[in-house]
Amino acid sequence: MSAVAPVAASLSPGVSRHRLQWTALAVLLIAACALPFLVSNYRTFQFTLVLVYAIALLGLNILTGYNGQISLGHGAFYAIGAYVAAILMDRFGVPYWATVPIAGALCLVVGFLFGLPALRLEGHYLALATFALGVTMPQLLKNKALEHWTGGVQGIVIVKPDAPFGLKLSPDQWLYLFTLAITVLMFVVGWNLIRGRVGRALVAIRDHPIAASAMGIDTARYKSLAFGISAMYTGVAGSLGAIAIQFVAPDSFVIGLSIGLLTGIVIGGLASIPGALFGAFFIQFIPNIADQISKAAPWAIYGIFLIGFMFLMPMGINGAIRLGWARLRHRLSAQRKGG
């Protein structure tokens, strides 16, 4: 995974840095593949969720980090993805692996459609509108009219798939590897997207919308596209999450989820691909840590973490790492020159 944002060029290229990055990436990938065989089933399940969140966060980052459109309602797309998977598997017997692309495609369309009216909203107002979406979603899911499909307040239970081809893997292990493969795929696609023309257009629109359109970028199309793509990612994540947790119910998708996703990308690092992974670790494990710090009010600790991050590390974990790395390199090269 490259840590280079599309517009900022790295200051000291050199073959060694790239090779370092690729090596690190390879090591990470190998470690990730080995993981389910080294830890318990429960831990593997937790890491599956980390991957799921990472996909969702990458999607949200495309919209909010790279394109500057704030969304406090992405939990809604996650919920749609989850329910699509659950309904297809439970009511229609669709195999689990097919539900993922279907969820993604549906969310792509829904996201794009939502992106159209959102074109006219900025900053706080977009946050407010998406916030309203996020709050309303559980109510919609509980609606009596849709109960036949959604299972109403009870929700839907689904079965975790077994490993195929008779492989000697537990369902948790197989699901982890399946999710890992999809995660890698989504990240590679995302990386290419951001490095390319689309990514540059998105960032240009974020930083100087008027200049961007004056240069001939169709801001409306790209902004709606960003919404659609980010919703697709989140929908894919939602479907994978539903399969992992084996259960969907309206109260799993309350506004807290949307809030968690947004905080995830800000903490992890806006407009960065590794940030999605850091953020995923944060939202999966920090509530547990907060719980340990204070059994009584874990979310208060979480909230304090959030505010603290905004004061101390506004660029997120990824930003802090890059800053630290740059400082280290500066010091090393200064030492070399100074002798």
């Binding site: 407010l128 916030f131 979310w299 979480y302 959030l306």
Partner: protein, 290 residues
């Protein structure tokens, strides 16, 4: 016809509460150009303080005013110690800070007071007044209290020199400094007042919806809708918007979408206003220069 009137008048009662919270939102927006997403949780927390006081034996109205004082100080503190130091951060980071506040208030309230739903007393006598059956005494009282608060606020801003200074500081901080107004204090006062209004709203609504940490979330959404409909920079508009939204919520909930989707009404209103007429009914159109 009876049912309709019932919904209409009940809508006015809740509308008064939305109007108060919407006014608090507009006040903070005017002064800081921020939407205070944490307004609802602050109000909820203040209401719990009132509950604790009443439970400890403090008479209602004493607890009422003590809570207002507490809320005032709370709002002041948040602006002075937290928001003031965040001036140079981006919109997104500010939203995260608000989220942090929401989460902290919600969680601390749940921790100190538990998540079980509580009764909150109403200071108004039982038994329907004036021989009518449409508005309970509490609903009538809530409307009354709302009107008193709004009138006092209006008079404060219109006739006192401090109110004038606060209006000036919100509109034009640079010029305000040039006439000697301490703008930072004015912002803190604004936050304090907004928090106090929120506390009143919370204490008026708690007897109706029962006290629990998630009490204000839906109300906040309606209040945002109201503030937007009225015009985010128009205090009068916020008040009108509040009553409008209260009535709409009840009527649409009763006759069109059903009670479960009432919150969906807020969503549609918010998005609708932002798309069709972002300056609201009474606000002014903002022109941004390139």
């Amino acid at each position: 016809m009876e049912a309709f009137l019932h919904q209409l008048l009940g809508g006015l009662a809740t509308g008064g509460i939305y109007a108060s919270v919407a006014l608090a939102l507009v006040m903070i927006h005017q002064a800081t150009h921020l939407l205070n997403f944490a307004q609802g949780e602050m109000a909820m927390f203040s209401t719990y303080i009132a509950w604790a006081l009443i439970n400890a034996g403090v008479p209602y109205w004493a607890a009422f005013f003590l809570t207002i004082a507490f809320a005032f100080l709370l709002g002041l503190a948040i602006q002075h110690f937290l928001m003031r130091n965040l001036r140079s951060t981006s919109v997104l980071q500010l939203v995260i800070v608000f989220i942090g506040l929401i989460v902290i208030f919600n969680s601390v309230a749940g921790w100190i007071f538990t998540y079980t739903i509580k009764d909150f007393p109403s200071p108004f006598p039982k038994g329907y007044l004036f021989g009518q059956k449409y508005l309970s005494p509490h609903e009538l009282g809530a409307i009354g209290v709302t009107m008193v608060v709004l009138t006092l606020l209006w008079a404060f801003f219109r006739f006192t020199s401090l109110g004038l200074a606060m209006r000036a500081a919100a509109q034009n901080p640079v010029s305000s400094r040039l006439v000697g107004i301490r703008v930072a204090w004015m912002l803190a006062l604004g936050w304090g007042l907004a928090a106090a209004i929120g506390a009143v709203a919370g204490m008026m609504v708690a007897p109706i919806v029962y006290l629990d940490p998630n009490m204000m979330a839906g109300i906040l959404l309606y209040a945002f809708a109201a503030a937007l409909i009225g015009g985010i920079d128009s205090p009068g508009g916020a008040v009108v918007g509040g009553f409008l939204v209260g009535v709409l919520e009840n009527l649409l909930g009763a006759y069109v979408v059903g009670n479960e989707l009432k919150l969906g009404v807020a969503l549609v209103l918010i998005i609708g206003v932002l798309l069709v007429k972002p300056s609201g009914l009474f606000g002014s159109v903002q022109v941004t220069r390139v």
